[in-house]
Assembly symmetry: C2
């Protein structure tokens, strides 16, 4: 009975998209991952992408997991950490399975602080590590050394408690209006977060100043908040996860709830297929690299910032962010065309996140795997490139394959058939 299925899927998709569109995500706190993330344990290390056996992690993600094990005191050396990981005494798990998303390697361990974004309407929560700073050497980019160790310690022991106190005193910060405003100021909220970072700073500087702390500490915190235009990205990612998880688990829905990369794979989830990942090989990344960097210098290390596209931002909102043209479709008209194509694979439009150039039309919202499979058009994804040895190398378009969306749809069809048969 395809007609019946079709109506049921349509209703399910409408419900899944509605809960995301109506969400009122609020940045409420910064907490240690162990405390904030469901199912987290002291011996668990989270990483970007669909999970793989430890042996398959060979590059930046491997280095970052080993570093996190030492950072947590689970091992004295990376060699010991490797043994414990092989022995299953330290567990590598997927961020997405613990209410979290990760940037690049996405490596998140128990004591590391995460943003907490909460939607009171649905009860959903999303989390993401704090932005690690502008230095090329970051665990995010697969680097582990004393510099990284010291910065992660400062983030954990100084920055996070200060921001936690500021956010709690402020009663949280609503994220939806910040994203709305930033879309009107040239951000796509993935490759470009310049306006959102400035807006968050305007809202947070007061609460940050009110926290009892040495003057120098307060100034360090303010400088960190305003010092890099990508600072807001991780807040947006936690927000995306909060929204996507509000839709996740909606039976019969083909709305995409996650797109993620490990070092080895691209993978997709839909609302109606629960926690199952639909995997493909790593897709092509058409990146414009920063001056002096060549294709040989870059490497895939995973990444879940694609959660922004999952909720209508990033490449889906390309027509809001013409300043990015060299790192996107090449020209402003091509970015407009890219966004317009996205209306063909999304369920609808966001009610308040609007694109000025398109006469304030809402961003394409709620990627439907069934529409991707039917049209062969895949999401337009803005994606950063990572240096093999650590650091931000550039940004461009990730050319997602149709297959995992088709596979998700097939699995959903199979579930529907099984239910009807049963």
């Amino acid at each position: 009975m395809p007609a019946l299925n079709s109506a049921r899927r349509s209703e399910a998709n409408a419900a899944a998209v509605a809960v995301m569109a109506e969400a009122d995500p609020v940045l409420t706190d910064v907490r240690p991952a162990l405390e904030a993330l469901p199912g987290m344990t002291p011996e668990t290390i989270l990483t970007s992408g669909a999970p793989m056996p430890w042996e398959r992690y060979t590059g930046g993600q491997r280095r970052a997991v080993l570093g996190a094990a030492v950072f947590e005191g689970l091992a004295a050396t990376v060699e010991e950490a490797d043994q414990l990981l092989h022995a299953g005494k330290i567990l590598v798990r997927a961020c997405h399975d613990h209410g979290c998303v990760g940037s690049v390697t996405g490596v998140t361990s128990a004591s590391m602080p995460v943003w907490v974004v909460t939607d009171a309407n649905s009860g959903s929560r999303g989390h993401c590590l704090l932005y690690e700073g502008s230095d090329r050497q970051r665990l995010t980019y697969g680097v582990w050394n004393e510099t990284v160790h010291q910065r992660l310690t400062w983030i954990r022991d100084v920055l996070a408690p200060h921001l936690s106190a500021a956010l709690r005193a402020a009663g949280g910060v609503r994220v939806k209006p910040i994203i709305r405003r930033a879309l009107g100021m040239g951000d796509d909220l993935h490759s470009r977060n310049t306006a959102a970072t400035a807006t968050l700073f305007q809202q947070l500087y007061g609460p940050v100043l009110d926290v009892a702390a040495p003057v120098a500490t307060t100034r360090d915190v303010l400088a960190f908040l305003s010092g890099n235009d990508l600072f807001f990205l991780h807040v947006g990612m936690a927000t995306g996860k909060c929204l996507a998880d509000a839709a996740a688990g909606t039976p019969h829905s083909s709305i995409v709830t996650a797109m993620a990369l490990s070092e080895q794979e691209f993978a997709v989830r839909t609302a109606g297929t629960g926690d199952q990942w639909f995997r493909s090989a790593i897709p092509e990344l058409r990146a414009k690299l920063f001056d002096g960097i060549t294709a040989d210098d870059i490497a895939f290390m995973g990444g879940e910032s694609l959660i922004t596209e999952t909720v209508g931002l990033g490449g889906l909102a390309a027509a809001a962010a013409f300043s990015l043209q060299d790192y996107s479709a090449g020209t402003a008209p091509a970015m407009v065309a890219a966004t317009e194509a996205m209306y063909g694979i999304t369920h609808g439009e966001h009610p308040t996140w609007k694109i000025p150039y398109l006469g304030f039309r809402g961003v394409p919202f709620g990627i439907d795997a069934a529409l991707v499979a039917a049209t062969g058009v895949t999401p337009n994804i803005h994606m950063g490139a990572a240096l093999r040895e650590g650091g931000h190398a550039g940004a461009g378009l990730l050319i997602a394959p149709v297959q995992p969306f088709q596979d998700a749809l097939d699995a959903l069809d199979a579930l529907d058939r099984a239910e009807q048969a049963g």
Copy 2:
């Protein structure tokens, strides 16, 4: 010899535009008008537009001039001030003749603090009052009462010294990169200054925190700097005046150096015609008014924020600011067309102020009165509307007439002929 004139004018225009394009305007200080403005005296009150006899000021500008006279202690009452103005004991002069530009009424008196913007390359300076705040009741909008008096006193006695100390400690703030960045974030720098305000705040909060002052004062200053998205406008206006005055006085040049409104007139200056004003009646303002406001509620009170268009911003940069579409040409494509038309009446393009949508083409830069006269195309001007009783009523397009540009050109031709004859 028209060919000779033409080559000489072309060279003069190139020189006038080059000095504006190469300027490196720096926001160096905040000083009392008496100290900063050339030719200012304690008994002088400056106002927007080409100057008129006191009798011709009948609306908001009249109320604001009277209020300023009381604010300065030149008269105990507005009635006494009126007598002194009639008697010539208090002088009404044009902002533009004292290195200054004014917002709406533009009323600027001796003790009021002005932004100081300096270009070390040309030695030019531009000035403009500090933004008066978000309250509907402002001297800027022709309101004089105790509330206005108190706020002007706070600006003079608290805000201005604090900002002066901050700017001097910071060694000034370069304005050119802020404008460049803001154009990439949806500002036109006239009707919209959201990004520039946020960027200036990111640069100034540190120096403001460093000034020795009571904590509550510092917090008031920070709140004032970040509390209204138009805060940067007056900095941009002082910058425009700094650039325009660097070109002013270039012999034989038909480049526009001022466009200004009084309550009664629109007026234009060009580089080659010095301080002479070329006047017309007030043009039509096609404004979108804020909710609940009708055409009967608004009134012309002057305005010199058109200095932003004079230096390639505002309506000339419409294609950078699609968020403004309801307050500009109506749609994004119409804003693109408006900016594209401006390349037909400008000498060139700014080298670093660029419009993302147009493939990072520089803003149309250096309005040429000869091209306006030849084409009949007048500058696309973004303009705020004022409530008759005070306050911001909306914004829209000012439809400038050709005649004053033609008159300026005729005067320039006459000067050239006189020089050749002589």
